[in-house]
């Protein structure tokens, strides 16, 4: 029996190779039945399990089939692990034929009959399956045998009979393993004990008959791994049926520990398999992503924080508040139509808010990005919780302009009306801060930064009055003038950070459940909750997350761990602005209930419908697999670069076989050039990052054109320079690729935990880089490959994106620069400093012409 201490792979292998015939058959049968059980057409478990109520003459076969059938893979594996050593010992002792006779006869039927009778007696009908009954029978036998040799085990002076140990195991398993059949095990154990008392010889078929059969059929000669009944004549294993393999196995077994690892390293397959593994990783990663919208992989959302109680309160906003709303709307319209400046608008709004008895303050900010300055003045008001102590606050944001530069014509008056309405309630436990920002991105960002004192005082003014810790924020983006149908919840934060799922669930619950209006996500105005729509929602969400841009006034709150969403009414319907106000009221009442900061639910998720999501544990493996593909390839190329540069497979084979003891010479790796090239690529990448974030807006497009040109001609130039001055070898090209992929894999796997979507997008777009290789002989292949690589260069992808969404390149680049300077989006770092250098190194590899001279030199060295 193998024990843990002496475990080693080669020994385990030899043990497996020496397994006798019946044990093998049982093993295969169990595995076979498990495989059969995978399909869903024929329920093999129902067919073969030992079900007391179904026992009859026609179903007696169940008595023999149930040990082979298992519930699931764990059940099967655990039972296999238990039964193989026991059965192997038994068979080695009694012979294959005896085993066959016993295990298809008395040792199986007696316990099962016992079990069925007891079950019927108890009036129960519990189906059993699995080889564990055998395990206990064999354990009982073993225990009785041990008892004969060594009757007592003395622990602390108490002597414990050794035959009791299986009973201990029986109880432990009954307690610890779920769904284990205590009765079945006990029946097996009982029969084992009885058999062990010496009754086995009455149960077993007569030895002379077996010997006769064996002799007549010449089983020993015909069947491999057969164990003879007559051990006196033929020895324990007959004529050592597995002599070939066992000598080989024992040779390995006697070898040094780790020989197998060495052998594995030298295995020629090691140089073949990794690219396929890598490809498999990419494919599995991509397919995984597309499985997520299925019901089996996504989950329904639920409210995790019990304190929220969304939709449990009556909302009273309405009635004459609508008259007030109309008046405020007149004021706002007047301001919007007169084209007043930001300060004048704030002046008017401040007058109104002050009239409500709220404290107001203003804050100036100036941001410079893409040659433009974004400046403005935030106005905010604090509605102090009537009985509160200024320790916590929730924020209601109404930007004057939304992200599409439309004036928030309904949102601003609605916020004013809500402020007036909220003032009347005395139940607020948290202060309510009303924020009017001139735009949707820079204003809220400046305000939140200053609230947390993380602002640059030279550009963003400090806040004159403050309240407590922010617990949540809701932004209203309500520019459409007519009645609406549903609410669009925008939840993407800067850099792909997301608000707590409980907040979104609360809004969905209040708007959808209580107010009876629809809720849409990710601009999916229609959603039928079928696979295509779910996938589309998820992919849109991933794209937004990957870009990492601020998507609304709420985005800037999320990096400070303040959960926030923007609510956007849309569509043609019958819901009016009061309904929208009631949604906000309901959400605020929920947030007001919070006893602690939102922490219960998920922060990492992909939403695919308003009530369906996948959490990080389910989706992360796909990005990780894609990132792992680069690492696998990098390690593979490193190993390959250490191998001698022989090409014929025959050579490798002979080498591996003949030089078992002496390892093949590892080739010296020339690291200077590859490391230099990779460092150069990484260093150069800072230039586009700096330029695209710092040139003024009008030069962005020319700069991009220039960059595109350089991007196309830089790899050939670099490659030519390399070949002219250094003439790198194939090994060096492999190393260049290895290092650059290693970096890429490292960056992407760490990014996957922060911004899954960005890691996934970059990973998939740079997946071909794993498989590029130099073409020393074919210029045409080189050109085609380079052209294909150019099609997936960052610049080309940017152009394609611009064409697809019908945006100008300038808009995209300006947006990126603004995001970099205002919100602190780091996506451009990933694009220019991670993806682009990897792509550049890949192009250099494709265009490489490995030097012949070096190869010749190597050859002569070898000879």
């Amino acid at each position: 029996m193998p024990s843990i201490t002496t475990f080693n792979t080669s020994r385990a292998r030899s043990y497996m190779v020496r397994l006798p015939l019946f044990t093998r058959l049982v093993l295969l049968a169990i595995l076979g039945f498990w495989l059969v059980g995978l399909q869903s057409v024929w329920d093999v478990r129902q067919w073969g399990a030992l079900i007391p109520k179904e026992m009859g003459l026609a179903t007696l076969y169940r008595m023999n089939t149930f040990p082979f059938i298992h519930l699931n893979v764990f059940h099967a594996v655990m039972n296999l692990l238990a039964i193989v050593p026991l059965l192997e010992r038994f068979e080695a002792e009694y012979g294959t034929l005896t085993c066959l006779g016993l295990f298809f006869g008395p040792l199986t039927t007696i316990p099962s009959i016992l079990y069925v009778l007891v079950e019927k007696g108890l009036g129960a009908n519990t189906a059993v399956m699995g080889a564990s009954m055998w395990v206990f029978t064999l354990l009982g036998l073993e225990a009785m045998r041990t008892y004969k040799l060594n009757p007592n085990l003395v622990i602390l002076g108490y002597s414990i009979p050794t035959w009791t140990t299986p009973i201990g195991i029986l109880f432990v398993i009954a307690v610890l393993v779920p769904n284990s059949s205590f009765l079945g095990h006990a029946a097996g154990l009982g029969v084992g004990y009885v058999a062990g008392f010496g009754l086995l010889k009455y149960l077993a078929p007569p030895e002379w008959a077996l010997r006769w059969i064996e002799g007549k059929l010449n089983l020993l000669g015909r069947l491999p791994h057969y164990v003879s009944v007559d051990q006196k004549t033929y020895g324990r294993f007959g004529v050592l049926p597995s002599s070939n393999s066992s000598t080989g196995g024992s040779g390995v077994g006697l070898g040094l520990v780790g020989t197998s690892a060495l052998a594995l390293r030298r295995d020629p397959r090691m140089l073949k398999v990794p690219p396929y593994i890598s490809l498999l990783c990419i494919l599995v990663g991509a397919v995984w992503l597309f499985l997520l919208p299925l019901n089996e992989y996504s989950r329904r959302t639920y409210i995790s924080e019990n304190a929220l109680l969304p939709g449990q309160v009556h909302t009273y906003f309405g009635g004459s508040d609508q008259n007030v709303f109309r008046a405020y709307k007149q004021e706002v319209n007047a301001l919007a139509e007169q084209g007043k400046s930001n300060t004048e608008i704030n002046g008017k709004l401040e007058e109104i808010v002050r009239g409500l008895g709220l404290k107001t303050a203003r804050q100036n900010f100036t941001y410079a990005a893409a040659g433009r300055t974004y400046q403005g003045e935030n106005l905010y008001a604090i509605l102090q919780a009537p009985r509160g102590d200024a320790t916590e606050a929730i924020v209601l944001v109404a930007a004057w302009e939304n992200v599409k530069k439309e004036v928030n014509r309904q949102g601003v008056p609605l916020t004013l009306t809500l402020a007036r309405y909220f003032k009347r309630w005395s139940l607020w436990s948290k202060d309510i801060i009303i924020l009017f920002s001139p735009d949707s991105i820079a204003g809220p960002q400046a305000w939140v930064d200053a609230y947390h004192d993380a602002h640059d005082t030279s550009r963003v003014a400090s806040l004159p009055i403050k309240s407590g810790a922010l617990q949540g924020a809701i932004a209203i983006d309500y520019a459409q003038e007519h009645r609406f149908q549903s609410i669009h919840v925008v939840y993407d934060g800067v850099n792909g950070q997301l608000p707590n799922l409980d907040l979104i669930n609360s809004v969905v619950n209040i708007a959808g459940g209580q107010m009876g209006m629809g809720v849409a996500l990710q601009e999916m105005w229609q959603h039928n909750d079928q696979y295509p729509d779910r996938l589309r929602t998820m992919l849109r969400g991933m794209l937004k997350q990957g870009l990492g841009l601020a998507s609304g006034p709420h985005s800037s709150f999320i990096p400070y761990h303040v959960d926030a969403v923007t609510l956007q009414p849309f569509g043609e319907g019958w819901q009016d602005e009061m309904a929208m106000g009631r949604v906000v009221e309901g959400t605020f009442r929920s947030l007001n209930n919070l006893l602690e900061h939102l922490h219960q639910s998920f922060f990492f998720y992909l939403l695919m419908q308003r009530e369906r999501f996948v959490s990080i544990g389910t989706y992360l493996p796909s990005a990780m697999l894609v990132a792992a593909n680069f690492t696998i390839m990098a390690i593979f190329l490193w190993m390959k670069s250490g191998q001698p540069a022989e090409t014929s497979t025959a050579d490798i084979k002979s080498g591996s076989e003949s030089d078992k003891s002496t390892p093949p010479p590892t080739v010296e790796r020339e690291l200077f050039l590859p490391i230099g090239v990779v460092i150069l690529c990484q260093t150069v990448s800072v230039i586009p990052l700096y330029l695209f974030n710092h040139v003024p807006e009008n030069t962005l497009t020319p700069l991009f054109g220039l960059f595109f040109l350089i991007n196309t001609i830089l790899p050939p130039i670099l490659s030519n320079l390399l070949t002219t001055f250094h003439r790198p070898t194939l090994q060096q090209y492999n190393l260049i690729k290895s290092f650059s992929l290693l970096l890429l894999g490292m960056f992407l796997s760490s990014l996957a935990t922060l911004n899954f979507s960005l890691a996934m997008i970059i990973g998939l777009l740079s997946a071909p880089l794993s498989f590029v290789k130099p073409f020393p002989n074919s210029a045409a292949a080189r050109a085609v490959c380079f052209a294909l690589l150019n099609a997936i260069s960052p610049a080309a992808v940017l152009l394609a994106g611009a064409a697809y969404w019908k945006l100008s390149v300038t808009t995209i680049l300006t947006e990126a620069a603004v995001a970099w300077h205002v919100s602190g989006t780091y996506s451009s770092v990933l694009v220019w400093c991670v993806w682009w250098p990897a792509w550049l190194a890949g192009c250099v590899t494709v265009l490489g012409r490995p030097g012949d001279k070096e190869e010749e030199k190597n050859k002569t060295k070898k000879a």
Binding site: S320, R326, A327, R387, D389, T391, S426, D453, H597
Partner: protein
């Protein structure tokens, strides 16, 4: 405010000269109560209830308590307390709109519960022991968690507090000032009930009959104070004075809502006060014109009930109710009430017959005198505005910023700023700086003196007292940084983890002419409390981990460890133990018995019996 105060002082002094000083100390004038109502801007109303009684020290020591609450007196005697100040507060005073605080801030505490007392004790240890007795006893008396004021929440202020009473018999050495604060304590009805029981009329008659938990705790700001101090008039016998004060700011709109329908439903459109001058005004469009206007109320609307006469024990010389509105406003009162307008033209008092129910109506002013100035007395500006908030984000470090503004254009303000911080906020004293707005860098002239006692983890909070001076019409930013310690998981309170409340900072503005008036502080104020969030484990996780690891250890590690440390000895080598010993002993006994009785038995039996013997010993 100043007028209000001067009025009050005048009334106090007159009261003193009339009652305490001229008459015998045992007269009925030992108790008086007064309610002062003062409308504030933004439709708020300040109601100050004051109840005061005296007892001579000799009577006190003779346990003849009379009007002094016996329950409290016994506690004070037992704990050796010479002077006691207890505060229950909630909400915040909006000094921007409401101006200076009532009583110059002397009768209020920070959010939660505050307690400070001068104890008579020889040593610090004795003082701590007495403090423990005092807090635990008060905790029971007031149904508050005062017993949680332990060493970590107790400080010994050095500069901020001075005794209010006269302590001729005590010396510096044997008086100890201890100050404890519970910022998280929620003040509620259960604290009001024992408070009312301390009054001679128990809330059944007099102004105390207006006190009602629903109204008191629905107020925007409220503070309940208990002050006990000895007063020794020159030449007279020392008296022990207890003063109970309740101040609250009621929102008139909110208070006027009927109790059975407290939901602020939108009023019908035609009842909405509108600004009709707007060009778009129509039946369905209304620019609201509320908030300033709401200054009409009646006493029963505001407090939900009538005032039931006066307390018969009260000194009739002190009018029970005063109202501070300009004399030009008309006020209607019920029968049997005599209105007396005071000379300062902004206050009037009402004398009430003991058996008459008192009701007062402030009608909404007529159209012509709608100017806000004539409706209410303009509040007086406080000496200092203070606002404190956290800076920074994240769970490792943070900062505290206090903005202190001196509104006066010609006088500078000198004050003591005191913080008692929990031990898990470790402050970096070197980062403390005071910057005057508009200037760069620190201003050395602002901070005069610093007293700092660093905290000790899990034993003592840190205490910071800073004497500062702010020049006229300037704003000072006092900032310092701190580090958040990591708590052990058992140290988190069992409730939902909202964060940890940090007590309000106590600001005591020094009285410049202290020698003349004898008052140490010219004005007191408290900042709001803060909520400090510490790194918090997901509490279900430790339990999962504990259960999981315990199981793993019990199953795997336990057995393995047992085998590793156990010395295995063959059974016949080791001493016989336990059951086996018993078994062999029994066997030998039985064998002996058999021998005794079964002498005549066959020999074969004996040999059979002997046979298992080796198996047993094996």
């Amino acid at each position: 405010m100043r007028q209000f105060l001067s009025f009050f002082l005048v009334s106090l002094i007159s009261f003193c000269t009339l009652s305490t000083c001229a008459e015998s100390p045992t007269s009925s004038a030992d108790y008086h109560e007064q309610l002062v109502l003062r409308p504030l801007p933004l439709s708020a109303l300040l109601a100050s209830f004051n109840f005061r009684s005296n007892i001579t020290v000799s009577e006190f020591e003779a346990h003849n308590f009379r009007l002094f609450p016996r329950s409290l007196a016994q506690i004070l005697q037992h704990a050796g307390t010479r002077e006691l100040h207890l505060r229950f507060s909630s909400g915040r005073w909006d000094s921007e709109s409401w101006g200076a605080r009532p009583w110059d801030g002397a009768r209020e505490g920070g959010t939660g519960v505050e307690l400070w007392a001068w104890l008579e004790a020889e040593t610090d240890d004795e003082a701590d022991h007495k403090w423990l007795t005092l807090t635990n006893a008060l905790s029971g008396l007031f149904c508050a968690s005062l017993n949680f004021i332990d060493g970590t929440r107790t400080t010994r202020p050095v500069m901020s507090f001075q005794p209010e009473g006269d302590h001729p018999s005590l010396t510096e050495a044997n008086t100890h000032l201890l100050f404890g604060v519970l910022p998280h304590e929620v003040v509620c009805t259960e604290n009001l009930t024992p408070f009312l029981k301390l009054l001679p009329c128990k809330g059944k008659a007099g102004i105390a009959s207006l006190l009602d938990g629903h109204k008191l705790f629905d107020s925007s700001w409220q503070s309940m104070a208990v002050d006990v101090r000895p007063i020794c008039p020159a030449g007279g016998e020392c008296v022990l004075q207890i003063e109970l004060t309740i101040d609250m700011v009621l929102d008139i709109d909110r208070s006027k809502r009927p109790r059975d329908n407290p939901i602020p439903r939108p009023p019908p459109g035609h009842e909405l006060p509108c600004n009709t001058s707007k060009p778009y005004h129509s039946h369905d469009t209304c620019f609201p014109a509320d908030h300033e206007a709401s200054q009409d109320w009646t006493l029963s609307q505001i407090f939900g009930k009538h005032m039931k006469g006066t307390c018969p024990l009260t000194d009739p010389a002190v009018p029970p109710v005063c109202l501070q509105v300009p004399n030009s406003r008309s006020v209607y009162v019920s029968d049997g009430v005599l209105e007396k307008k005071n000379l300062d033209r902004v206050s009037r008092c009402f004398e009430i017959r003991p058996d008459a129910n008192f009701e007062m109506v402030l009608p909404s002013p007529s159209k012509d005198d709608q100017q806000a100035t004539s409706l209410i007395v303009k509040p007086e500006a406080p000496l200092l505005y203070a606002e404190r908030s956290f800076t920074g984000h994240g769970q490792e470090r943070g900062g505290v910023q206090t903005i202190l503004r001196n509104p006066s254009s010609d006088t500078e303000v000198e004050f003591i700023y005191m913080e008692s911080l929990p031990w898990f906020m470790r402050i970096y004293l070197h980062t403390m700086s005071a910057r005057i707005q508009g200037t760069k860098g620190d201003d050395n002239s602002v901070i005069q003196e610093v007293y700092y006692r660093p905290g000790v983890d899990r034993a003592r909070g840190s205490q910071l007292e800073v004497r500062m001076r702010i020049p006229p019409a300037s704003t000072v930013f006092l900032t310092y940084d701190f580090e958040k310690s990591i708590l052990r998981y058992t140290e988190y309170p069992p409730d939902a983890n909202r964060g940890f409340d940090v007590a309000a900072a106590v600001i005591t503005i020094l009285n410049k002419d202290e020698p003349k008036t004898g008052r140490f502080a010219a004005y007191n104020l408290r900042t709001t409390s803060l909520l400090c969030s510490l790194p918090t484990p997901d509490f279900s996780m430790p339990y999962n981990v504990i259960i999981f690891t315990s199981t793993a250890i019990a199953l795997a590690f336990g057995g393995m460890f047992n085998i590793m440390v156990r010395r295995f000895v063959a059974a016949d080598e080791g001493p016989e133990l336990g059951l086996k010993l018993l078994k062999t002993k029994l066997k030998s006994r039985f064998a002996a018995l058999f021998k005794k009785f079964g002498v005549g038995k066959a020999k074969g039996d004996q040999t059979k019996e002997a046979e298992p013997q080796p198996a047993v010993t094996e």
